[in-house]
């Protein structure tokens, strides 16, 4: 019998891990620099916890049945878990909370796809208890810092405002609004054109579908629309945020993003309440969504016993996508680190002395990698092995007093 991994599963060998950690370490350093702390939550959640926010569909969760707990699922993302855990702790001086995670998530492959990956790695942050332009800007600048720390040369930041877009959609009659929203979310112009809408509403729907481009132009276009007070307010906040971002990107950033304001960037469900954004890889090759996020000011209330909500905003970086983009740039490690020493006992009587010597080397410099020769190889085979493994120094141990160092 041959034991195969389940379809869609993937094993990471040491080089894969070295490359993955290269990415994660850089991103984590940025998280630390901005004062974020790591949180670890359960891989397994109750299905209703995962689905409470409305962004997770039952069909995409890998489910488990537990006799006492009922329906459980492997987390498809971390925000629900963090919101569940943090909702009741957001009081007084403990707010705001700056949390980050670096974890695996699981998603069931869509129908009709073969061998699509089911386990993914994500690193992300949640800023809980912070509303307003300043918190929005912090999270976007932190995101930009992550991208810059990975040395990506060109990237796009697509920014929307789900609250404003949803409000602009309220002009459509309630019975047809979900269809308009779905067509806009999926960029389905033909469906929009075929919906039974008055000429004015059709024009507005088509305007919303293509309400994107240079931030100045889009803000201009929206301000020309007939807006109510709350829409004016949302637009003015968005303008402040865009100005703040452009000013911040102007000076200290080596590679600022190409900023696209896109008010058609909306989901078909009410999860995000304010800004939403996606990071998209730049020129050349396949365009990939490297990360995404947004503001969710209603989510924490869903997990609070008294339904007390508090603002939240976060993003997630998709480690596999970053890996794919970074691989051809040559920045990722191309080899696992070589050991510095190979310690070879030349006789069985020298075993204890060899271990003692290895330990002495390891103690002298904790960063040294010292490996033991295990076999009955001839000296020439040992040298060949060390050469193949890029080991620079061999210590031939005959006894505690008789150690010969050979540099290759």
């Amino acid at each position: 019998m041959v034991y195969q991994p389940p379809v869609g599963a993937k094993d990471l060998f040491p080089l894969d891990v070295a490359q993955k950690r290269w990415i994660e370490e850089r991103v984590q350093q940025v998280f630390h620099r901005w004062g974020y702390h790591r949180m670890i939550t359960s891989t397994l959640e109750r299905l209703d916890t995962l689905m409470a926010g409305g962004a997770v569909q039952r069909s995409t969760v890998i489910q488990l049945q537990d006799r006492e707990e009922g329906e459980l699922g492997l987390r498809p993302e971390l925000t629900a878990s963090i919101a569940r855990a943090a909702a009741t702790r957001m009081t007084g001086s403990s707010s705001p909370q700056r949390l980050y995670y670096n974890a695996n998530v699981f998603r069931r492959a869509a129908r009709g796809t073969f061998n699509r990956q089911q386990e993914f790695y994500q690193a992300g942050v949640e800023l809980l208890g912070g509303g307003g332009v300043l918190a929005d800007a912090e999270v976007l600048l932190l995101l930009a810092d992550c991208i810059v720390s990975l040395g990506l040369q060109s990237w796009h930041l697509v920014l929307g405002e789900a609250g404003l877009t949803r409000s602009l959609l309220s002009a459509f009659p309630e019975d047809i609004r979900p269809q308009v929203r779905e067509a806009i979310a999926h960029l389905d112009r033909l469906r929009l054109e075929s919906l039974p809408l008055s000429p004015q509403l059709r024009e507005r729907a088509l305007l919303l579908l293509d309400l994107r481009g240079r931030p100045e132009d889009v803000i201009q276009q929206v301000s020309a629309m007939d807006l109510n007070d709350s829409q004016q307010q949302a637009l003015s906040n968005l303008k402040s945020l865009v100005d703040l971002l452009q000013e911040s990107f102007a000076s200290p950033f080596e590679t600022p993003p190409l900023l696209v304001l896109d008010l058609s960037l909306i989901q078909t469900f009410d999860y995000y309440t304010g800004i939403v954004f996606e990071v998209i890889s730049g020129s050349g090759g396949e365009r990939r969504v490297l990360g995404q996020g947004g503001r969710y000011d209603q989510l924490l209330g869903l997990y609070h016993p008294q339904r007390q909500t508090c603002p939240g905003i976060g993003f997630v970086l998709n480690i596999e996508e970053l890996h794919q983009i970074l691989l051809p740039t040559g920045q990722l490690p191309s080899q696992i680190p070589a050991s510095d020493w190979l310690v070879v006992p030349t006789t069985p009587q020298a075993y204890a002395a060899a271990f003692a010597h290895a330990r002495a080397l390891q103690t002298k410099d904790s960063l040294l990698r010292v490996e033991m020769e295990l076999g009955e190889r001839s000296p020439d085979d040992v040298r060949k092995f060390a050469g193949d493994r890029r080991i620079k120094q061999i210590a031939w141990v005959r006894s505690a007093e008789d150690i010969v160092v050979e540099t290759l």
């Binding site: 796009h156 697509v158 999926h186 960029l187 389905d188 033909l190 058609s264 998209i280 365009r287």
Partner: protein, 216 residues
């Protein structure tokens, strides 16, 4: 750089004509001696990929092509995550249910429960009969679906009908229409949002050409 995925077969000529009207000339694909699968237009501003019908939305969904031209029938069957932008008007046909002309069936609901339905469009067929609440067995075929009822393997077929000539010649009869199909211009969603290399201009030009040509 702009890349367009074009379908081999019956939609190719009209697709190339449409793109030529906006200044992108890929006529080299129409040369019977052509064996290349990827060519530049004559002005060297865009590239075209020549792929099988069903593969057009795949290249566009994954972003190797920013634009593609493909029948609505394929979009309905495969449900790719692409932006649907312009109805190009050509390649008109319909997805229909057909049975042997000699059979007693004159509507889909006449079919006995648990009938076999042969089709290349298994998802469309499945969805259609599910909505009718008629349990059927869908038999996937890859071509010459008409043989299903002729050989007696299936009671009916779900297939594309353009003129109805093939059905008639095989003594089959159309009893229901699922939907009408025409060729569509589709785009890779992320590329559409980012609008690099004048993508939007090309789309707008195509839309205007099609609107200008449409019968009033």
């Amino acid at each position: 750089m702009l890349t367009v995925a074009l379908p081999k077969g019956s939609l190719l000529e009209d697709s190339i004509r449409t793109l030529k009207a906006v200044g992108l000339d890929f006529s080299a694909f129409l040369d019977p001696k052509n064996r290349q699968l990827e060519i530049w237009d004559t002005t060297h501003t865009a590239k075209a990929l020549l792929v099988r019908n069903y593969d057009v939305p795949v290249y566009v969904e994954y972003g190797q092509a920013q634009l593609g031209i493909i029948g609505y029938d394929v979009l309905r069957e495969k449900q790719p995550r692409v932006a649907h932008l312009v109805d190009l008007g050509f390649g008109r046909c319909r997805l229909s249910v057909a049975v042997k002309a000699s059979s007693p069936y004159r509507s889909a609901l006449d079919l006995p429960p648990h009938s076999r339905i042969a089709s290349k469009f298994v998802n469309c067929a499945h969805e259609y009969f599910e909505r009718l609440d008629l349990p059927v067995e869908i038999v996937p075929l890859y071509g010459s679906v008409e043989l299903g009822p002729i050989t007696g393997m299936s009671e009916a077929i779900v297939d594309l009908v353009a003129t109805g000539k093939t059905l008639k010649e095989n003594h089959l009869m159309e009893i229901e229409q699922l939907f009408e199909s025409t060729a569509r211009l589709i785009a890779h969603p992320l590329s559409y949002r980012l609008n690099q290399n004048g993508l939007k201009d090309v789309i707008e030009k195509i839309r205007h050409t099609v609107l200008a040509a449409a019968p009033q």
